[in-house]
């Protein structure tokens, strides 16, 4: 564990008032810990079921006890099937790569646009800046679910149905991301710093890239995380704008399989549905674990903005 992390933990321990001081009855801590365990079990039940059943045959998914393994061990066979088009609906690995593409380019783009825009609104006043920022704030109030159908109507006119850009470009629109970045710049980049650089004769773009951007990294990671997750999990927009199965992201592909699972007969879609669901979750959980330092503060900021 590195030094700053250790100090952080020490500080956290210091901030907590020792439990003994509350004068609790004996056993209270045990009872409350038991409550925590109960809710943790509730939280983990579906995940445990998915992990266990990703190793089973379709027959065993139906017949064997749900919370224990059953032979034969089919995990690798099912995993191999994720790379095949088993029933003509499409190939999971293809859908998964689509998801990665949409989330990376859409989420990355959202982060870049939010960083530039947030910095612009935080540090400059220009004709119409308040009007434009007001429009962005109004955009915060519009739920993404409700933009999907209007987008479809426009796409039908301009031939963006079944285009990956029809999915990627709207994913780059993140009013919340811009708002977060503007707040972040205002709170954490001292004006003296940028002013000093300006006096030294640095250009505006140079000040942004050399001075502001490095200081914005924690805020950027929060926006990146939130917008990647939002695109990764998006269902209604790709559902509406794609009729070509090869362009589906994993969410829409899995939704299609769940419709066909009961009628697919020999295709044995249930094991694929279980394992495909598991594979879709893993990158997101990994991302949260990796960036956990950033999302705590970001979530609070984000929720205040909402």
């Amino acid at each position: 564990m590195n030094e700053s992390r250790r100090l952080e933990r020490l500080a956290e321990r210091d901030a907590v008032i020792p439990v003994e001081l509350y004068g609790l009855k004996r056993g209270t801590v045990t009872v409350l810990t038991a409550c925590c365990v109960l809710f943790a079990v509730f939280t983990l039940i579906p995940l445990a079921w998915v992990i266990i059943n990703s190793t089973k045959t379709q027959a065993n998914i139906f017949q064997s006890f749900g919370f224990w393994f059953a032979s034969p061990f089919e995990f690798f066979h099912t995993f191999a099937n994720l790379f095949r088009d088993v029933d003509g609906d499409g190939t999971y690995s293809n859908w998964f790569l689509n998801t990665v593409l949409y989330a990376a380019v859409g989420g990355g783009g959202a982060t870049v646009l939010s960083a530039l825009g947030g910095y612009g609104f935080a540090r400059y006043r220009f004709t119409g800046s308040q009007l434009l920022f007001g429009a962005v704030i109004a955009g915060l109030l519009v739920p993404v679910t409700l933009v999907a159908v209007p987008l479809y109507l426009v796409y039908a006119k301009v031939h963006l149905i079944n285009s990956i850009w029809g999915m990627i470009l709207p994913s780059m629109v993140s009013p919340i991301g811009l708002y977060l970045m503007r707040t972040y710049v205002t709170l954490s980049i001292p004006r003296e710093l940028t002013d000093a650089a300006r006096i030294d004769g640095a250009g505006e773009l140079r000040i942004f890239f050399k001075i502001a951007l490095p200081l914005m990294v924690p805020g950027l990671m929060t926006v990146l995380l939130l917008s990647v997750v939002a695109t990764w999990n998006n269902y209604i927009l790709p559902l509406i704008i794609f009729s070509n199965n090869n362009l589906y992201p994993a969410t829409v592909g899995l939704g299609l399989w769940s419709q066909h699972a009961t009628t697919s007969g020999d295709a044995n879609l249930y094991p694929l549905l279980v394992l495909g669901g598991l594979v879709t979750i893993i990158p997101m959980i990994a991302l949260f674990a990796l960036l956990s330092r950033y999302w705590r503060s970001g979530l609070l900021l984000g929720s205040v903005a909402n």
Binding site: G120, L153, G255
Partner: protein, 318 residues
């Protein structure tokens, strides 16, 4: 002197003063204003094309009607009149309101309970449990609906077998009577951790010395929580009520996916968003669907505005 002038011009108020005396606004300040525009332009272009334009187009389309004979013509608020008079649409609205009225209080109670426990440190392994509870937030709703669909499946789902073992035969979690409660359970699973973390962060910001003083006065713990801690996080709680209300109004994915496990229960008008989807995409009546979307957007914006007004009023009072 020129040096200090430049620095003063950086601050917003000084800039406003400069703007008032327009002739004195330096070429430098104007050039800087232009740089600001350069920074915000990429965002504004994408924002306009993929948010403002579609919304404006949808509002425009909602004022037209297409008839089999006579084609498309301007029909004013005719689509809105049929949305406002549509029993199924408002039935869906009422359903999501009932959903929110049960799900939000139950979830917030659980989230507050655990956030308080974690904040006080009165359970072992708080760090570990906090991480576990947050996991569902990272799971796409499509996948959580699929997982819970398997668990609740009427044919082979383990929860169904469990009920049978308890003596409830032909128990169906996904029947039309139980579908809404089942979705409430799923939504509680999805969102409790997220709400809990936000409340935990809010509780953490309550000054420590306030609590210490109360302890020195021999105040019992439950009183510290109810009288000191919770009142201080009330703004966070109120904000969460509104955020969750807005989420509830948009219920779509869970019923859509569960419909594949128990076909026939989820109708085309089960929730407002399902109604909008089936009207404009499945039935192709996109002008009517656009009008529905506008009505729902107005309801949601009204909730948001109410939350802002509520917050501002509290701020003035405090």
């Amino acid at each position: 002197m020129s040096l200090s002038n430049t620095t003063v011009a950086e601050t917003g108020q000084a800039n406003a003063a400069v703007r008032k005396s327009a002739p004195r606004r330096s070429a430098y300040a104007r050039r800087r204003g232009r740089s600001g525009l350069v920074f915000v332009t990429p965002f504004m272009i994408i924002f306009t094309l993929f948010m403002i334009v579609p919304l404006a187009y949808a509002i425009d389309q909602s004022l037209y009607s297409t008839k089999l004979i006579g084609g498309t013509s301007f029909s004013g608020f005719a689509n809105y009149a049929s949305v406002l008079q549509s029993g199924p649409f408002w039935g869906g609205v009422i359903r999501v309101v009932i959903f929110g009225a049960i799900q939000i209080p139950v979830m917030l109670a659980i989230a507050t309970f655990f956030a308080t426990i974690f904040d006080l440190g009165v359970a072992k392994g708080g760090r570990f449990f906090r991480a576990i509870y947050f996991v569902p937030f990272a799971v796409p709703i499509v996948v959580s609906s699929l997982m819970w669909g398997f668990l609740f499946d009427p044919m082979y789902g383990p929860f169904n077998r469990f009920m049978t073992a308890l003596g409830f035969h032909n128990f169906n979690w996904l029947s039309s009577a139980l579908m809404l409660p089942t979705i409430i359970i799923i939504a509680i699973w999805e969102w409790t951790g997220y709400n809990c973390i936000i409340l935990y962060t809010a509780l953490k910001s309550v000054p420590r010395d306030v609590v210490e003083a109360a302890i020195l006065d021999d105040t019992p713990l439950w009183k510290i929580v109810l009288r000191i801690k919770l009142p201080m996080v009330r703004p966070a709680l109120i904000m969460l009520v509104f955020i969750n209300m807005i989420g509830a109004m948009q219920l779509f994915v869970e019923p859509t996916i569960l419909n594949t496990y128990q076909p026939g229960v989820i109708t085309d008008t089960w929730t407002p968003v399902i109604d909008i989807y089936s009207t404009s995409i499945s039935n192709g009546e996109y002008q009517l669907g656009a009008a529905m979307a506008v009505v729902l957007a107005i309801i949601i914006v009204a909730i948001s505005v109410a939350s802002l007004a509520f917050r501002n009023r509290r701020r003035e009072l405090g």
